[in-house]
């Protein structure tokens, strides 16, 4: 267990700078989740932490020791590779116990450990197989098992559950959470699964193009995105961005919305809109804040009900997404599957702006901070 400091780390491949000065510091026992669009440099950062890639500039500190030039095996890190990197010549069992063997753990202890991990990952029946004889998800679990068998200072997980089915993924997620609770090991974890990010992380780092856009708790990131990119990236379905004119009503700046009718929406921090009266800003509103009218919200502040025209509906099991157009922007609304919303019909929807955010249209900068 150790803290981790990534100090202005840069990484170049030839001319191209892949990491452009990453600064992250994690406390001992913290669970950090890295998210970001494909190709933004997450795996590269993980590799740099592990010492598998040289960093071109900057320092990495683990447990307050500068390990920038320490060889990987002395960093005491366990990692799940995005590409698995299983030892093809070893059985599943050997793959899992190899790391322990290298750390001179006695045979009996290793066996116990392998059994434990294999059960946890539900691969006990595969212990004698070679990687080539496994399915994709099974391979991924072996990769996972290899890391979990060890007790390092730091775990690095690079999309460890991406090829598992939903059910298994939930189970694994729970196991990881338990493990983290029990051992308190510092963990850095890359995932594309929003739910994984939200439920596992102590803090989330949102990356883009080799830079950290925002670093904060899941709730901060979700409710208080630092900029347009973070706002749009986190949350699934994504936040709706509606270009809206700022109009002044009774001295308070409001946001004008044209659906079937035109309404002005109130905004919790109207003062931040002062300078924009008469101009257009981007209003960020998550789909779950545009729902069928909910009686218990009725009358709350910042809740506005208006008509919209349904363009498409998308049933998703627990909810149905309703697509519509507001201020010429396509937006997603989330409704109860039983709320009648035929494509083409005009229905009532409730806009809840209590958690809305606004951005400058050009710069993408958040206005209401």
């Amino acid at each position: 267990m150790a803290n981790l400091v990534i100090d202005n780390v840069k990484k170049r491949y030839g001319e191209t700078e892949i990491l452009k000065g990453i600064n992250i510091s994690i406390k001992t026992g913290e669970f950090l989740i890295l998210v970001g669009p494909s190709g933004c440099g997450k795996s590269t950062l993980m590799n740099s932490i592990a010492g598998l890639e040289d960093v071109s500039e900057g320092r990495i500190l683990i447990a307050d020791k500068d390990v920038t030039y320490t060889s990987p095996k002395d960093r005491d890190i366990a990692m799940v590779f995005q590409s698995y990197a299983l030892y093809p010549n070893m059985t599943v069992e050997q793959n899992i116990s190899f790391g322990l063997e290298m750390r001179k753990v006695p045979k009996e202890e290793r066996d116990v450990e392998v059994q434990r991990v294999a059960e946890l990952l539900q691969i006990s029946h595969l212990l004698d197989r070679k990687p080539a004889q496994l399915s994709g998800g099974q391979r991924q679990r072996v990769a996972m098992g290899r890391a979990l068998a060890r007790r390092p200072q730091l775990y690095l997980f690079d999309e460890p559950l991406s090829n598992l089915d939903a059910k298994l993924r939930v189970e694994m997620r729970t196991e990881i959470k338990k493990l983290h609770k029990k051992l308190g090991t510092t963990i850095v974890y890359v995932t594309h699964d929003q739910i994984e990010a939200m439920t596992l992380a102590d803090r989330i780092a949102v990356m883009k193009d080799g830079q950290v856009q925002q670093l904060g708790t899941p709730q901060e990131i979700y409710d208080n995105p630092a900029n347009l990119f973070v706002a749009g990236f986190m949350g699934s379905p994504a936040m709706n961005f509606i270009p809206a004119n700022v109009v002044e009503q009774d001295g308070t700046p409001m946001l004008e919305l044209a659906t079937s009718t035109t309404v002005a929406l109130p905004f919790p921090k109207p003062e931040s809109l002062k300078d924009y009266v008469g101009k257009t800003v981007l209003l960020g509103l998550r789909p779950e804040m545009i729902t069928e009218p909910q009686p218990h919200k009725e009358g709350q502040p910042f809740v506005t009900t208006t008509d919209i025209e349904v363009e498409v509906t998308e049933p998703m099991g627990a909810d149905t997404m309703i697509l519509t157009r507001v201020n010429d922007a396509e937006i997603n609304c989330r409704s109860n599957p039983m709320y009648p919303a035929a494509a083409g019909s005009v229905i009532k929807m409730m806009f809840d702006t209590s958690k809305a955010v606004v951005f400058d249209q050009e710069s993408g900068k958040r206005l209401d901070v």
């Binding site: 590779f81 030892y87 790391g99 060890r150």
Partner: protein, 294 residues
């Protein structure tokens, strides 16, 4: 992955192709075998038959006299022990030389492709140039070097020479094979706490069988069949079997005993052939299958 890949094909065209394939393989095999058949037939004939018969005529009777003569009683120069006494010499040279050069080559290849350092590629290129130095020019300086080292005309000296001029090839083979091993494997093992040699021994070597086979075939053949170094750097009691074979072939007692020559040649080749047959089993597929995704 299983390689049963493409389904049971039963169409006529496929069948025809298959027949054609076998035909080609067999015809080519016949071409390869021809000199051997000539040698074999000759070794079974007696001198008179060789003189009178044609190349491919069958021997009148199966006659292994020439074989036993080649093995144990043919004369070369002052001694008449056949080529058998020289077998041991050859083995004493070949086994350590093959083992050392293969191991060194594997390690070099491993470093050059998976643990690159500044200059390692350049060095590799420089080393390859070594493959093209004609062995004849290094005879004299090497003799001098061996003299300095005090291993001139000894088995160790010969082993040394063969290792020195073998590693360029073994390194080449291994390096080029390791190019296709996913680098992630090494990364994973380093994180698991394995060191340089452990990774080599536990991860890399086990997937190297095909190339080990090829390298051993090459080195074994080269060293076993080497004449130039064998004759120039051996002592009178460490001469390898090729020198004996050469003496035997160039020795005649009124009319060449081709049958004995041929028998000796075949006998001398048996260890190498044994290596081919034995090693062939390890031409296996897909040792790195399932290692990485992508």
């Amino acid at each position: 992955m299983s390689n049963k890949a493409v389904g049971r094909k039963t169409s006529g065209l496929d069948k025809a192709l298959r027949v054609a394939l076998y035909t080609v393989l067999i015809v080519v095999a016949a071409f390869y075998l021809m000199p051997f058949i000539v040698m074999l037939l000759t070794s079974l004939k007696d001198v008179e038959e060789i003189r009178t018969g044609t190349l491919l005529s069958l021997p009148a009777s199966l006659n292994f006299d020439s074989w036993s003569k080649a093995w144990s009683s043919a004369c070369t120069g002052g001694s008449c022990g056949g080529i058998s006494p020289y077998f041991m010499n050859s083995f004493q040279i070949v086994l350590p030389a093959v083992a050392i050069s293969t191991l060194v080559g594997a390690l070099n290849g491993y470093v050059i492709s998976l643990w690159k350092f500044r200059g390692s590629d350049f060095f590799f290129a420089a080393m390859l140039v070594g493959c093209f130095i004609p062995f004849q020019v290094i005879l004299l300086p090497m003799a001098q070097t061996l003299g300095w080292l005090g291993i001139a005309n000894t088995t160790s000296g010969l082993v040394f020479v063969h290792v020195v001029y073998g590693i360029a090839f073994t390194t080449l083979f291994f390096r080029n094979f390791y190019q296709s091993i996913p680098g992630e494997l090494v990364k994973a093992a380093r994180l698991d706490g394995a060191g340089f040699f452990t990774i080599f021994y536990r991860i890399i070597l086990p997937v190297s069988t095909p190339i080990i086979v090829v390298t051993v075939i090459w080195q074994f053949t080269q060293i076993w069949n080497d004449f130039l170094f064998g004759v120039a750097f051996s002592g009178f009691d460490t001469q390898p079997v090729t020198v004996a074979l050469n003496n035997l072939v160039n020795t005649s007692f009124g009319g060449k005993e081709y049958n004995v020559d041929m028998a000796a040649a075949i006998i001398a080749a048996l260890p190498t052939l044994a290596v081919y047959v034995f090693a062939g089993k390890y031409f296996v597929r897909g040792l790195t299958a399932g290692a990485v995704k992508g």
